[in-house]
Symmetry: C2
């Protein structure tokens, strides 16, 4: 009880060798967003980070990151951004990936085209060019020029393992799973003691360089036939991803969420297209070549196809993407997407099960607001599952179909939703956004004033707001179990790895929390301490 | 009980003279969005509609409308859009203004630059140019070429008045107010029997041509001093608006909401700026002149000031404006805005009260999620009110400070919110968006499939979703009254004029509904019928 769960962080991430830091120049300090030390050569774009990482360690430096940058963030050793706060895209994704990350380093001014940045601090200006070495410490938020030495955390001496063993004794049957999208993360999660995957975001696989063209073809398809053709190309890729996860998690459940983000996230940005289209009549050969590369359109066809592409992007443009055509709403308008994903899941499950590995898939439908949406998607998944398993002659495979609870209406009508759902998983990132009417990305614009005035008890995207959002969570657990007493309930939002939120999850009677692999030990300890607290309270009141 | 409240619509709006329609060509049919017949000359932009309306009746024809178009919509006799559904911006605003409106007329293809549109129906294509006459029927959704004759509704024979008198007898003390932003609408509301204003959106006044420059100056201000200077220019304008409303509503309460929309709504669109900036190096003199006009920047300064303007617009750009920096969040980061608005309200109140007119201002803080936000804003309003009333030597003026309940968290913590709020008004448009995680504007993209599959019982933006959103409303009324038994509770969302939703409001114990002036009689009848239903039920169960 004397060890604060967050302290474990120091034992889980690489740290700088103090001596090697002495010779390096401290350039600037930002906001600590994801712990650990990272050293790499600077890349100013996701593409460049991917290229650079093939040869030497890369460090991604961006003004801010967007979903397009996922591959680059994954390839880099660490991430540094000029703007954004602890709940910005960069911060959230980096924590999920276990990458050290500093955000909001406002003294950095990035010239993306010139492939350099300037850092002005204390009257001095330093220019850092692409390929230069930087060392960043995601725990202290300090940025150094040059190459520091890092030492890996000591996970081998057995001290941590022994300590975690004590914690697990008290944690009992309260589970800790990890959010992991690819086999590598799933294996890391197992090493940290995760008892399953609580959230696999299938769309993260869609952003991979070799897949994006097929995803785009699916989106740009003008009819069901050509969409189905594009989906067919994605099927084997998804199948092999899922097979990898099932293998890594042998015997433990794997929660796979069907496609969630709005489709325009997979297409070029509307404003970039508009600007390039405006420039096209006077564009130089070099500029045209760049456009051709950016949009995968031959130079000679730019004039014809750029407006067509923009037209489709305009069609998909949304005023509030967070509240738009995404989650199960996509699966309802394009049932063939859900069908392909269900097929990939169960073909992979059958394939792995036949090798004698126990497989427990839990298919999760996102963004449910009404039980009817779940009913619609569940019937597709069930039909495909039966068909695939019968064809593969696999009969003893146990699977579940459930839903995210991430919209207030789903929580308010959880008794109805539980008629169809075999499990609930609280997506508290989105549930916080909708319950508070507050966009995580946009909150950074005025969060400083809100923090100064102490409007919220803590950053609601870091620490679960128990008074508001928690009330809905508690209500939904109660309503859901009223309909289905054995309903499995977990959480897969960012809060699943935050100690006070984990304690709350234990108290409202959840079965497990799921968090990023690197926070699994923290969650294990926090859950154990919540249980100890509970029994202490119980014995006091006896 | 035999008259469905919606039937009253036929008695409240102008209709086409059947004979005069015979000679006109039916061009196309869209979606009926706001009832009544309108005749006017076509304008393809809001600016043109304003200009045209000075000489002859105008009809605004747009692909879709945005908040920028408010002045043009107001100037036009009717509105016709090519895209959008019953809950699109055009539909909602038109109903609020009582303007006949047809949306989603997909056969219309608009060439805004060429100032014409083509309508292709049944293989035939007709071109309509700016200034041509069109006649639209917002009840049947039919669009005719040419000038039909309209007849005004018969409100003078006294039949309607007599009938409404019967309704009011049964309605008892359940109030019906109107949403009105300007004195003219307030007077219309009184004619229809409104007993006060339930929502005055102060920002609608900000879009007026003579004010927008000052609003923009306020937004572009680099410090508090220059922002305060710009606000000073707006003060007398707001004061005279409010004085007009108080005069029109003599003795009835007027609920005035402080600034609500995100500030970027008042600035040029980001993507337009980006495109124009890309075009600038090769722009012709004519194009530069157009840009100069659009951004109020002299041609010679475009090169310098366009990037500056874009920079500020970028700073204000939001991923999800609906969940962003708006409502009370603006008043908290820029307290001087709330201060100016409070000053305008109470100076106007004092001025009108001194003329012997009874004035009841109710200041409403929007988008509250935590009681602390309300506390912050309330202290500003109270301070200014005391100061202004003392200075004007007005002592017996009764006013209230309350809040919108439009975010789930506000409903969930309504017991806390009521410690500060003297009244609640349910903003069920936004509360529906946040509770369902569904953007009204973006829902139109997939609403057809949702309607076909009957996912929701009815369009949730037209008919209050009693199962989900209604549960939060009911909870908030109970929690609020627990803290403050005499809490005044009303509704000011679109649903306040929809019969089944009005019935719900009566049942959960609200004090009043507020709706667009043209729906006031409908709400009066619906409330009366709800009361009759209640007492019938009560006597049955005796």
């Amino acid at each position: 009880m004397r060890v604060a769960p967050a302290q474990l962080d120091q034992l889980l991430h690489p740290v700088f060798d103090a001596a090697s830091l002495k010779s390096l120049q401290l350039l600037t300090t930002g906001i600590a967003a994801s712990p650990g030390a990272a050293v790499g050569r600077v890349a100013f774009s996701a593409e460049e980070a991917v290229e650079m990482a093939k040869k030497s360690p890369a460090l991604l430096v961006r003004k801010e990151t967007t979903p397009d940058d996922i591959a680059g963030m994954d390839a880099a050793k660490g991430i540094l951004t000029a703007i954004g706060g602890k709940s910005s895209h960069a911060a959230v994704v980096a924590r999920g990936m276990g990458r050290p990350c500093i955000v909001g380093a406002g003294e950095i001014s990035i010239d993306e085209k010139g492939r350099k940045c300037t850092i002005t601090s204390g009257g001095k200006t330093v220019t850092v060019k692409e390929g230069d070495w930087l060392s960043i410490d995601g725990t202290t938020a300090k940025v150094y020029l040059g190459q520091a030495k890092t030492s890996e955390p000591d996970t081998k001496s057995g001290v941590l393992a022994k300590f975690m063993g004590w914690a697990d004794e008290f944690r009992g049957n309260f589970g800790v799973r990890a959010n992991a999208d690819i086999p590598r993360d799933a294996l890391a999660a197992r090493r940290f003691g995760a008892e399953g995957i609580g959230l696999c975001r299938t769309e993260h696989m869609f952003f991979a360089e070799d897949r994006l063209p097929f995803v785009q073809a699916m989106i740009l398809a003008k009819d069901v036939k050509s969409r189905t053709a594009a989906l067919k190309k994605l099927l084997p890729m998804q199948r092999s991803d899922f097979a990898g996860l099932f293998k890594a998690m042998k015997g433990y459940p794997v929660v796979i969420r069907t496609l969630d983000p709005p489709l325009h996230e997979f297409l070029p940005k509307r404003e970039h297209l508009m600007v390039d289209l405006a420039k096209l009549p006077h564009a130089t050969a070099a500029e045209k070549k760049e456009m051709s590369k950016a949009y995968s359109i031959p130079v000679s066809e730019l004039k014809k196809r750029l407006p067509e592409l923009l037209h489709r992007v305009e069609e998909l443009h949304e005023f509030n993407p967070m509240l738009g055509h995404r989650g199960c709403r996509l699966g309802i308008t394009y049932p063939e997407i859900t069908e392909m994903q269900a097929r990939a899941i169960f073909e992979a499950a059958a394939q792995v099960a036949k090798k004698g590995v126990k497989v427990i898939p839990e298919v999760m439908i996102p963004l449910i607001g009404s039980v009817k949406e779940l009913e619609h998607q569940k019937s597709i998944v069930e039909r495909v599952a039966k068909e695939v398993l019968a064809k593969a002659d696999v009969s003893d495979l146990h699977y579940m179909i459930g839903t995210m609870i991430e919209i207030p209406r789903a929580a308010l009508t959880a008794d109805q939703v539980a008629e169809q759902a075999e499990f609930f998983s609280f997506g508290t990132n989105d549930l916080t956004q909708t319950t508070m009417g507050l966009s995580r990305d946009d909150y950074t614009k005025f969060s400083r004033q809100y923090e100064d005035l102490k409007i919220f008890a803590a950053d609601p995207f870091g620490v679960l707001d128990q008074t508001g959002v928690g009330k809905l969570v508690d209500l939904a657990v109660k309503l859901g179990r009223k309909t289905r007493p054995d309903l499995e309930v977990g959480i897969c939002g960012e809060h699943g790895g935050e100690p006070s939120s984990v304690e709350f999850c234990v108290k409202v009677g959840m079965n497990y929390v799921s968090c990023s692999p690197y926070r699994v030990p923290i969650a294990r300890l926090a859950a154990a301490q919540a249980r100890i607290g509970d029994s202490a309270e119980a014995s006091r009141t006896k």
